[in-house]
C-alpha cells in the first residue's frame, strides 16, 4: 500500500465498480471510501459513522480492508480484526470537527489528510453548498501544502467554487491517470 496518492471516494453515488477499469485501479494509490460506497470492496480503508452501514461493512468488507469508525461506534467492534477507531483530528479541532456528526465523505477526507499525502484525489465527491462545500474548503485551507485533485465525471463541467484556491485542481479521470503516472515517475 502506498501513500504516494490517496484517493477518497465520496458520496455522490455516480462512480460504480465498472468505472474502475484496470488502468485506473492500478493508478489510484491508497483508496479511502465513504461508508457503503459502491467501491467498498476495493478500498484500503472505509470510513463510516453510520451504525447500520458499520454493521453491514464489518460483515461484508474485503479481508484487506480496514473499517474506521468514531469511538462510540467502534466500541461495539473492539474485539474484531481490521476495525479501528478514527484518529483524533487535532488539526480540525478549531472547527469543532465531530467525526460522529459530519458526513461520511468529510470523515474520509479528514482521515486522508490525517494519514497525509502530498496529493489527495477526490472521486465521486458530493458538492453541496450548505454543509459539504464549506467543510471541504475549510479542510483544503488547513492543508495548503496538499494538492487536492477534484476528479470530474466524463460529462461534468468544472465548478467555480474552488477558483480562489491554489491547491485545488479539477481534472477528469483520463487526466488523473496521466497525472498519476507522471507523478509516480517523478518521486
Amino acid at each position: 500500500m502506498t501513500n504516494q496518492i490517496i484517493s477518497v471516494m465520496g458520496e455522490l453515488g455516480e462512480f460504480k465498480p465498472e468505472k474502475l477499469d484496470t488502468e485506473l485501479s492500478q493508478n489510484i494509490g491508497t483508496m479511502i471510501v465513504a461508508g457503503q460506497h459502491a467501491l467498498y470492496q476495493h478500498a484500503d480503508y472505509i470510513c463510516t459513522n453510520n451504525a447500520e452501514q458499520l454493521d453491514f461493512l464489518v460483515k461484508n468488507k474485503a479481508e484487506k480492508t480496514v473499517v474506521l469508525a468514531p469511538r462510540d461506534q467502534y466500541a461495539k467492534y473492539v474485539f474484531y480484526n481490521k476495525i479501528e477507531c478514527v484518529p483524533v483530528f487535532e488539526d480540525l479541532k478549531t472547527y469543532d470537527f465531530d467525526p460522529l456528526n459530519c458526513s461520511q465523505q468529510t470523515l474520509a477526507l479528514a482521515t486522508a489528510c490525517w494519514i497525509g499525502s502530498p496529493v489527495i484525489a477526490l472521486f465521486d465527491y458530493l458538492l453541496e453548498s450548505k454543509k459539504e462545500n464549506p467543510a471541504l474548503k475549510a479542510i483544503m485551507k488547513i492543508y495548503p501544502m496538499t494538492q487536492f485533485l477534484l476528479i470530474r465525471g466524463k460529462k461534468s463541467n468544472k465548478v467555480g467554487i474552488f477558483d480562489d484556491m491554489s491547491n485545488v485542481k479539477q481534472i477528469d479521470q483520463t487526466e488523473f491517470v496521466d497525472f498519476y503516472k507522471k507523478y509516480v515517475r517523478k518521486i
Binding site: V66, L68, A75, V78, F79, P87
Partner: protein, 122 residues
C-alpha cells in the same frame, strides 16, 4: 501461548486482579508477608496456565502492580473468550480495556461490563 511474537502485534491490554487479600499491597508489606507472595505466585501460575491454552500470543507483564497482573493480547476473539470465562476460571478482570489503535499506534481506553450474555464496551 507462543513465546515468539512481535510486541507491536499485541493490541489489547487488561489487568487481572489479584486475589482480594493480595490487592493494594505495597512491596514493603509483601516483604513481610510471604503468605501473600505465595498466593500471588500461585495466582500468576494459574493465569499463565490458562493463557497457554490460547493459540495466539499473550504477554504477561512481569512488573509488579498493586491491583493485579498486566497482560497483553493479540487476538480479539481470544480476549473475548477469556473475559467471558472469568467466572468459570475464578478470576476477576479489572473492567478497563486498553486497545492499541493500529492506525495511530495510540492506546484508547474503554471500560466494559461483562455478564453471561456478553461484553458491553463503552
Amino acid at each position: 501461548m507462543s513465546e515468539k511474537f512481535k510486541i507491536d502485534s499485541l493490541k489489547y491490554h487488561i489487568m487481572i486482579a489479584w486475589p482480594p487479600m493480595c490487592r493494594s499491597r505495597s512491596t514493603q508489606t509483601l516483604k513481610d508477608r510471604p503468605d501473600l507472595v505465595y498466593k500471588i505466585n500461585e495466582h500468576t501460575t494459574r493465569i499463565i496456565d490458562i493463557c497457554k491454552t490460547y493459540k495466539n500470543p499473550i504477554k504477561i507483564d512481569q512488573t509488579y502492580h498493586m491491583l493485579g497482573l498486566k497482560t497483553w493480547w493479540q487476538d480479539g476473539p481470544d480476549l473475548y473468550h477469556f473475559l467471558m470465562m472469568q467466572e468459570q476460571n475464578k478470576l476477576k478482570v479489572v473492567p478497563e480495556l486498553a486497545v492499541v489503535n493500529q492506525l495511530t499506534n495510540r492506546l484508547i481506553m474503554f471500560r466494559f461490563q461483562s455478564n453471561k450474555d456478553g461484553i458491553f464496551v463503552y
